[in-house]
Subunit: 318 residues, 5 copies
C-alpha cells in the first residue's frame, strides 16, 4: 500500500510512483506512435485515407466507460473485502486473546507451579493465533511459512507435521481447537464458555476461507479479456475517428485518451489480487506484525520482546 502524507492536489497530478504509469507507458507509447504514423500517412496521402468520424467512437467509448467502471467496481470490491477480512482478523485476534486471558483459569492450581502451567497454556494459545495469521499471510503470498512459525514455536515437535499438510493455517487452527479442548477437559475452562472460544476460532477459519476465495477465484476470464480487447481495438481505431476534425493534433489527443482508458484498465488488474506485493496491494506484513504486537501486549509481554512495527520503505508498506 502506498503511504503518503495527505498530498497536495498538485502533487498528485505530477506523481509517478504507484500510479500504474510504470506498467502502462509502453502501451501508451505504442498507441501514440501508431497515431503519429496514421496522421503522417493521412497528411501525405489524404485521398487514400478514410475517416470514421466520432459517431461510432462515442457509442463504443461510453459502453467502454461503463464496462471499465463495472470491472473496476468488482476489482475494488475484492480489494475492500480483502481489507475487511483482515480487519475482522485484527478484531477477532484481540477478542480471542482477551477471552483466553480471562476465561482460562488457574482453578486447578493448588500451587504456584500449576498457575504457571495455566499461564503457559494461555501464552501457547496466543502464539498459535499468531502462527495462524503468519501462516495465512504466507499462503496468500505463496511464500514459505516455516521460518516465521518456528520463531513463534521453537522446539515444537508437531510443527513439521503441520507444515507438511496441504493447508498450514487450517492445521494450526486445528491445534487451537485441540488446545481449547484440553483446557476444557482439564477443568480450566468452563463448559459453558467453550462455545465463546469456538466462535472466535470459527471466525478465524471463516476469514481464512474468505481470503482463499478471493485469491483462488479471479474475475471471470471472459470479462477481463473482453475489456482488454475493447480498449485495444478502441485505442488503435481512434486516430481514424479523430483525424478529420483534430488534424495534426490527433496523436496528442489519442495519447491522452489512451492514457485514461489504459490506466483505468490497468488499475483494475492491479487491485484485483489484493494480497500480493504490488504497490497498491494490502500491507499484510504490516498488519500481521501489528496483530502480533497487539495480542502480545494484551498478554502482558514486555515491550522488548515485541517485534518492531513495519515501517513504509520508500512510501510503500508491504
Amino acid at each position: 500500500m502506498i503511504v503518503t502524507e495527505k498530498e497536495s492536489w498538485l502533487g498528485m497530478i505530477f506523481a509517478v510512483h504507484g500510479t500504474t504509469m510504470e506498467s502502462i507507458w509502453p502501451r501508451v507509447a505504442v498507441v501514440f506512435l501508431w497515431a503519429i504514423l496514421t496522421t503522417v500517412v493521412a497528411y501525405f496521402f489524404p485521398d487514400r485515407y478514410y475517416t470514421l468520424t466520432m459517431g461510432p467512437f462515442t457509442v463504443v467509448g461510453l459502453a467502454l466507460a461503463i464496462f471499465l467502471g463495472f470491472r473496476n467496481n468488482a476489482a475494488y470490491d475484492r480489494y475492500w473485502e480483502g481489507r475487511k477480512l483482515w480487519g475482522r482478523m485484527v478484531n477477532v485476534c484481540r477478542s480471542f486473546t482477551m477471552q483466553i486471558n480471562t476465561l482460562i483459569d488457574d482453578a486447578v492450581a493448588s500451587n504456584a507451579q500449576t498457575s504457571d502451567e495455566a499461564q503457559n497454556q494461555r501464552l501457547h494459545m496466543v502464539r498459535l493465533i499468531i502462527c495462524h495469521i503468519h501462516a495465512l499471510r504466507h499462503r496468500l503470498r505463496d511464500t514459505d511459512a516455516a521460518a516465521d512459525l518456528e520463531e513463534q514455536l521453537p522446539d515444537d515437535n508437531q510443527l513439521p507435521q503441520d507444515l507438511a499438510q496441504d493447508n498450514v493455517p487450517a492445521a494450526i487452527a486445528d491445534r487451537i481447537s485441540r488446545q481449547i479442548n484440553s483446557a476444557w477437559r482439564s477443568g480450566r475452562l468452563d463448559t459453558f464458555h467453550v462455545p465463546l472460544l469456538h466462535n472466535c476460532l470459527t471466525e478465524m477459519v471463516d476469514i481464512q476461507g474468505g481470503c482463499e476465495r478471493i485469491k483462488s477465484t479471479p474475475i471471470p476470464f471472459t470479462y477481463s479479456v473482453l475489456t482488454h480487447r475493447t480498449v485495444f481495438i478502441y485505442c488503435f481505431a481512434l486516430p481514424f475517428g479523430l483525424h478529420d476534425t483534430v488534424g495534426i493534433f490527433t496523436p496528442l489527443v489519442v495519447g491522452m485518451i489512451a492514457y485514461i482508458f489504459l490506466g483505468l484498465d490497468a488499475v483494475g488488474d492491479e487491485i484485483e489480487q489484493p494480497f500480493m506485493t504490488d504497490d497498491n496491494d494490502l500491507p499484510l506484513l504490516q498488519l500481521t506484525t501489528m496483530i502480533e504486537r497487539n495480542v502480545l501486549q494484551l498478554s502482558g509481554c514486555p515491550d522488548e520482546e515485541l517485534p518492531d512495527p513495519i515501517q513504509p520503505v520508500d512510501h510503500i508498506l508491504i
Copy 2:
C-alpha cells in the same frame, strides 16, 4: 473456471479459448454479412438507400450499454454469491470437523474398544459431511450422486433410501442431525455443546438452500429477452446508421461493435448459472475434492487414503 498463469496483456488480447468467442462467432458473422449486403446495395443503388444517421443509435446504444451493464452486474452477483456460498461451505466443513474431533468424547469408554467406537463415530460423521457436499454438487449439476456416496459409505444400509428421497443432500443432513443426537444421548457430547454442532449443520443447510435458489431462479425471463432483442435490433439496424459517414468501412465497424455488444450479452448468459461445467463456471469438483482432502487430513487420515487433488485440464478446472 479458466486457470491461466497471470497472462500478459498482449496474450489476453489474442486469446480465443474461454472468451465466449466460440459461442458468438456465428452471430457476429451473420451481422457482418448483413452489413456487407446492405453496403453493397447502398453502393450500387444509392438513391434507394435511406440513412438513419447516428443520432438514434447514440441514444439506444447507451441505453443498451446501461442495461447490458445492469444484466452483467446481476449475473456476476449470482456468480460471486455462488462462489461465496461454496467458500462458506469450505469454512463450515473445516470448523465442523474440528468441533466433531474435539467435542465428541471418548468419555463413555471404559476400554480401548469403546474409544475406537467414539473414533468410528467421529469418522462416520466426517464421512457424512463429505457425502453432503458431493451430493450437493451432483444436485446442482443434475448428475447422479450414487457412485460418490457409495465410495464414502460402503455397506451402508440406509444409503439407498436416502438416494431415493427428493432431496439427497437434505437426507444426508438429516443423518448428520441424527448422529449429533446419538452422540449426545450416549453421553459423548455435552448438552451445552449440542447447539455448536447444530449451528454448523444449520449453516450447511443454509448454504445448500442458497445454491438451490441460484440454480432454480434465473434472472427474470423478460430481462434476458429484452436485452437479447435490443442487441439484435441494434446490430441489424446499425449499417443504416453508419453508411453515410463511414462508407465502405461499414461492415468492419459494424462487425467490431457487434462483437463487443454480442460478447457482453453472451458473458452474462454464461455466468448466470455458475454451477454448470461451462468454461467460466465454478470448479465444484475441484472444491469438493479439496474439502474432502482437508477434512480427512484434519481427522488424521494418512495421506495415501486421500483422493488426488483435481488438476486443470487444458487450463479448465471443473
Copy 3:
C-alpha cells in the same frame, strides 16, 4: 415464473409469451400511430413543421436510461430479496424439522403409548410449520388460507380462532411457540435446547416480516410517476426530433425506441411486486409445496401421503 428449456438465442429473440409484449403493445401501437400522423403532416405541410433535432433527445434519453436503470435495479432487488427470503424459509423449515425430530425426546415415555405421544407432538409441530408457510403464501397473495390449513390440521379446535386474527401466520407462529414451551415444560425438550428452537422460530417470523415489508411498501410513488411520465413525454416528442434526419422512416425508428423504453419501464412494474401471480413472479405455490414434501419426508412420512409437486402449466410456475 417462466420455466423454459435453456432457450436458443434466436428463440428468445422471437418469443412473445412472458416478455411484457402482451401488456405494452397498445402503448407501442399508439406511439407508432402518432409517429405516422406527425410524419404525414410533416410530409404534406413541411413549412408548418418544426423540428427539434436530436440534441435534447440525446440528453434526456440518457438521463432516462439512467433512471430506468435505477428503477429496474430497485425492482430487481425487491424481486431477488423476496426470493432470498423464501430461500431462507426453505432452509429454516428443513433445519427446524431436523431439530424437532432429534431434540424432542421420548424421555418421559415409560411405555409405547407415551413414545407415540412424543411422535405425535413432533408431527404436530411439523404440521404447524407447514401451516405457517401456506398461511404466509395466502397472506402475500390476498387469498383465503382456511382450506389449506384445515387440510393440515383436521378437527383442530383452535384453528377458527387463529384464522380470525389480523395476521394468520403470526397466530400460527404463536402456536409453535406454545408447542416449544409445552415440550420443554413436559421435560421432553432440554432447557438448554429451547433457544435453538426459538432461534428457528424467530427466523420464520423475521422472514414473514420481510415478505410483508416488500408487499406493503412499493417503490415510492413519485419515482414511478416521474419515470412513467418521462417515458411518455419522450416517446410522443421523439418524432419531432427524428423527422429532419430520418424522414419517412420516422415511425419505424420511433416504434423501435418506444418498444425498448416502454418495455424496460414495464419490466420494472411487473417484478416490483414479486409475490403475485404474474408471469415473472415467484412461484410461491411450487415453493411451499416443495417445502411441505421436504419436511414431511424428513419426518418419515410415506411417499403416498405427500402432496404432488407442482408442475409448470404452459411454461408458467405459480
Copy 4:
C-alpha cells in the same frame, strides 16, 4: 406513504398528488418564463444573441444525470433502510411477545393470585414494548410521546421520570431490561433463557439506534448543494444551448427538461428523511398501531380493547 389502487399506466401519467409537482412547479415556472424571455430577446435582437450549442450541455447533462442518479440512490437507500429497520421492529416485537408469553412462568405460583401476578408482569412487559415503539416514533418525528405512553401505562409512577430523560425510548428499554431481571430473580424466568430475551431487547435498541442515525445524519451537505446548484445553472443556461436549433420552441423544450431534472432533484430531497410526514414518507403511525394490535392479540387481549387500525386519509398513510 401514498396508497393507491394499482393505478393504470395512463392514470399515473396524469396524477398530480404526491408527485413532487406541488413543490417544484414554482421553480419550473421561473425557468419557463426565463426561457420565454431569452427567446423573445433572441428573436428581436438576433445579432446580440450568442448561442452555446448543445455540446457542453450534452456533457454536463449526462454528468448531472449520473450524479442525480447517485444522490437518488443514496436517498432511496436511506428510505429503504428505514423501512427495513421498522420491518425488523415488527418482527422483534412479535418474537419478543411470544417469548415473554411462553418463557415467563407461573412457576412460583402456589395459588391463583400468583398466577395472576405472572400474567400481569407479562402484560406489563408487552405494554413496555408498545411504549418503546410509540416513544421511538415520537422521537423520530419530534413530537411529544407523553400522551401515548400514559395511555399504555396509566398510574405509572416512574413514567414522568422516564419522560424527562434525554432519550425516552432508551429509558423505556432500560425498564424492560429491569423487568427481565426481576422475572429472572423471582425465579419465573430460567437462567438459561435470560440471553434469549436480552437478544430481543438488544435488537430493539439496535433498531432504535439505526433510526436515530438516519435521522441525525443527512447526505453530506456538499453533495446536496452541488447537485442543486448544477441543476440550477443547467436549467438557466439551457435556453442559450437550444435556441439556434429549436428556435421558438425553446421555452417548451426547456420547460420539459427542467421538469425532469428538477423533479428528480426534488424526489431525493423528499425521501432523504423518511421518518417525517411528507406524502412519500414511511407510515410510522400505521406501523406502530399495527404492531400494537399484533402483540396485544398474541397476548390474548380481546378485540374490543385493541386500537383501530390506521386507514389512509385521501390516499395518504401517515
Copy 5:
C-alpha cells in the same frame, strides 16, 4: 458535520460555507484565467489556433463522470460505513450498560457495604466503556486521550500503563474483559451470562477495528491520482474544444464546467476520511458526549454530573 435548518432550495444555491467552494476556488480561478488567455490568443491569432471540437470531450467527459461517480460512491460508502459503526457503538454502549446494571448482582452482599461494592463495580465498568469511546475518538483523530481518560478515572493506578500501549482503546477493552472476569469469579455474574457481556465487548472491539480500517486504508492511491489527473487534463484542454462554437463565452462555460467537475472531485476527497474535523466529517465529539450522557443517565447518575451536550458552533458539529 454541517447542521442547518432544512434550508430552502434557493438558500442552498447561494450557500458558500461547507460546500468545498473554499478549497477549490483557486483551481477554478486558474482554469478560468487559462481559458481567458487561450480565448484572447485565439481571437487575435485565429490562424495559429487549432480547435479540437467537442467530440473527444464528450467521450472523455462522460467517462470522467462515470469515474467521478464511482470514486464518490466509494468515498460516500466509507463515510456512511463510518457513521454506521458509530451508530452501532451508540447501540452497544446502551445495551452493555443495561446488561451490566441488571446482570451484575449484589448477591454476595450480606450487608449494605458489599451492595455498595457491586454498585461501584458497575459504575466502574460503565466508566471504562466511556473511556473506550473517548480513547477511540482520540485515536481516530490523532489527538491525546490522556486528559479525557483521567477525568473518567481519577486516581487510577493502571491508567498510565494503558496509555503507554500501542493501542489505548484495546488496552481499555482488555480492562473491561478483566472486570467481567472478576465479576464472574466473585459470584456476582452468572456463568451463563458471561457470554452476553463478552458479546457486547466483542462488538465494541469489532467497531473499533472497523474504524481503524477505514482510517488506515484510503481508496487506492492510483484511483485518486487517475481521477485528479483526468479532471486536470480535461479542464485545461476544454477551451480548445469549445472555442469554435462558443467563441468569447469560452471562459464562462469552461469556468462552470470546471466548477462542477472540480467540485465533485473535491467532495470525494473531503469525505473519504470521515473521522477528521473537516466541515463535512462525522461529529465524533458530539456522538461520544451523547453516549456518555446516555449511559450515565441509564446508570442513575444525577443530571448535574452529566457533561453538557455538544452544540454546533457556526453550524458545524465536530
